[in-house]
Symmetry: C2
Subunit: 406 residues, 2 copies
């Protein structure tokens, strides 16, 4: 066994960060299948080859790397994450798990490891998250992949064709659980808790469930000067009332389950002009919790209340669920393996639950899956100021090497 090298990890992070659609001062933008994303993936591919691996891309666009001595069919540990980013995101989200896996390949040449880079985790490029892992796991078919579109109007199949995505091979190349011992994804926490408590690493034992909705309000565009307050059907004012309600609903639900959050992250207003009462507003709702009963109760209240709030203002509402993902418990034996490996290195790892979703949630029903969280400075993520310690990431790599070799 060779040593985990923090300097190599730091260089990998810097190199991947250099590939961005936007200037680095504005943050890192790597939409899936964009030139910046392709350059970052090419970098990972080259590093894997330099570490002595063969690489392949499956029909869903995910990149795999294994040593030829292991072969593609022998049972191995999956290790990796994603390199696509939200618009103007940070350097560590996803990238942390990919560079950890590269370092594990380098430091543990004898371990049965397969690096994986999942295609399109964030959901900001095609409006739906974890497309690569879902398609590989068989949870999304070709029809679904052809119906989601990026800002250029291309479907996942169209935009991904140049990067190995191929509807015809999807079924044949579907994830074969028998080839895998399990999956370990290292990821930054993206919350403030571990950093605040001086915890460098934690074992993730569950991933929050998520419901996403698209809500559209239709009122009447009208003149901002001559339309009295009583005569208005203002779609943005209606959206504002709903956003406030969702915020209070989340706080209310979080009373019993602190990992409960509701976010309205995206809104579009029409005609969006300074002197016109908004006639239409469409926005996203993202609702997560670590408790299934809380999700059910919250959804029930949301579905009952939003149409009432809209109706009271004379607004027509369309409320469509766009995604539903259950709370995912991670594999107890893989969690225990990580704790034990850390113990042999003299570390005691606390447990954590993931507020964010990850590709691990998609694979967990199929292969034994666990995650390691690395502390995020001040919990800032999806933001250019996102920061984690390279020494914490190196520590995660050491734990994974120890876990995979035992």
């Amino acid at each position: 066994m060779r040593e985990v090298d923090p300097a190599r990890i730091a260089r990998d992070i810097e190199c991947i960060a250099s590939f961005s659609e936007t200037d680095r001062s504005a943050g890192h933008s790597r939409p899936t299948f964009s030139p910046a994303w392709a350059q970052a993936r090419e970098y990972v591919l080259q590093q894997a080859r330099e570490a002595g691996c063969e690489t392949r891309v499956d029909a869903a666009g995910n990149l795999h790397a294994r040593r030829p001595s292991l072969g593609w069919d022998a049972p191995a540990w999956l290790c990796g994450s994603h390199i696509d980013s939200v618009p103007t995101g940070g350097r560590f989200d996803g990238v942390t798990g990919v560079v950890t896996a590269l370092e594990v390949l380098r430091a543990a040449p004898g371990a049965p490891v397969e690096l994986i880079v999942f295609a399109e985790e964030e959901g900001t490029t095609f409006g739906l998250g974890m497309l690569g892992s879902k398609a590989w796991a068989g949870a999304l078919d070709a029809a679904a992949l052809s119906s989601v579109r990026n800002a250029q109007g291309q479907s996942f199949l169209e935009a991904g064709a140049a990067f190995g995505v191929d509807a015809d091979r999807l079924a044949a190349e579907r994830l074969a659980p028998s080839r895998y011992l399990g999956l370990v994804e290292v990821h930054v926490e993206q919350g403030a808790g571990m950093w605040r408590d001086h915890v460098p690493l934690a074992v993730v034992t569950a991933i929050n469930g998520r419901r996403q909705y698209r809500c559209s309000l239709q009122g009447a565009a009208n003149h901002a000067g001559s339309t009295t307050m009583e005569d208005r059907r203002d779609a943005l004012a209606g959206a504002a009332e709903i956003i406030r309600y969702l915020e209070s609903l989340a706080r209310d639900l979080a009373d019993g389950s602190p990992r409960t959050v509701i976010t309205v992250g995206r809104i579009e207003v029409h005609p969006n002009a300074i002197n016109v009462v908004p006639g239409r507003a469409a926005f996203s709702i993202d609702f997560r919790s670590s408790s299934e009963p809380v999700i059910s109760r919250g959804e029930e209240r949301l579905l009952a209340r939003l149409p009432r709030l809209a109706g009271a203002r004379g607004l027509a509402i369309q409320l469509q669920q766009t995604e539903t993902l259950p709370v995912v418990p991670l594999d107890a034996s893989v969690c225990q393996r990580l704790r034990a490996a850390a113990g042999r290195l003299g570390l005691q790892l606390p447990d954590a639950a993931s507020g964010a979703l990850h590709d691990s949630a998609i694979l967990a029903p199929l292969v034994p899956t666990a995650m390691l969280f690395v502390a995020s400075k001040d919990g800032i993520s999806h933001n250019p100021a996102e920061e984690s310690r390279v020494e914490d990431i190196a520590l995660a790599a050491r734990v994974v090497v120890e876990a995979f070799q035992s």
Copy 2:
């Protein structure tokens, strides 16, 4: 005197409506200096020439037409409005006053009339309204016209150069009040009152004052799943709270002054992604009232409250006043002239106040100004469904002809 012809008016409205950047089913879009706007202006110019007029464009981009027999220096009545539109607006806003003026030129060849088409009334193209009338009236100088920009990044001076705008001639061609007997602008009401009360025409005796602000909230973009509700500084949630407050403030102020309205018509959110807590939100505030004391009181409350609402959420706020226009009383003698002219045609015109701003508000301090309102179906305006009766517009033309010939 010839007859006012409703069929000619209907044809003018249809022809101008045919010039739009967007498909007509989506509404009428004629940003100032766009190809669609230029075609509409060319149509008006041709119609004025066919009615026997000479035309010229002043250095601020406003189109003028007079009969050669009258000459450019003789005192005349200004009559007209604008042909630019909000995005996906209706067929009657502005156009009504232009086609009325065309019909007055045709029906009253002996009357001392100058048709005017003001450049950029709406404010949606360059972010500031009534640019043509303000520049002609000397209320905006070349520096101001070079600082406002359209969506293509061109200033008013740059975009208008091909249409007669010329900074060097602005001072020399400034409005000379001595050349004008007054201004009568015919416009649709854009409110529901006249239509509801079966009033086809009304004399506008005052125009509401307006304050506009740009408000920007800076929080922290962060992960929508892993950031607890307590750890968030969500700029969109803050904007929603402010939008709700402004709505209640307007209703409160309108108790004493029913013509008081506040509108948030435009909002931009960053990064505007489904799974990111919004880090920044910027929106417009448009505040109007027919009462100066109400405007002062409202502004005082708004300026005190918004920073407190933002501060309580850990959001930094920038609140900038972008426009201030006082309540404008219109000229009592011109109003009386319109009432008397209507009386001779057997009509009794009620008084109205304008909730919307118009170029008339800019010229009123310089030349005796009044307006005639034409009923708007259901008060709908700045909307493709905007509708007025051609026979009401023809009635307005008859009143104006009668007023200008007396």
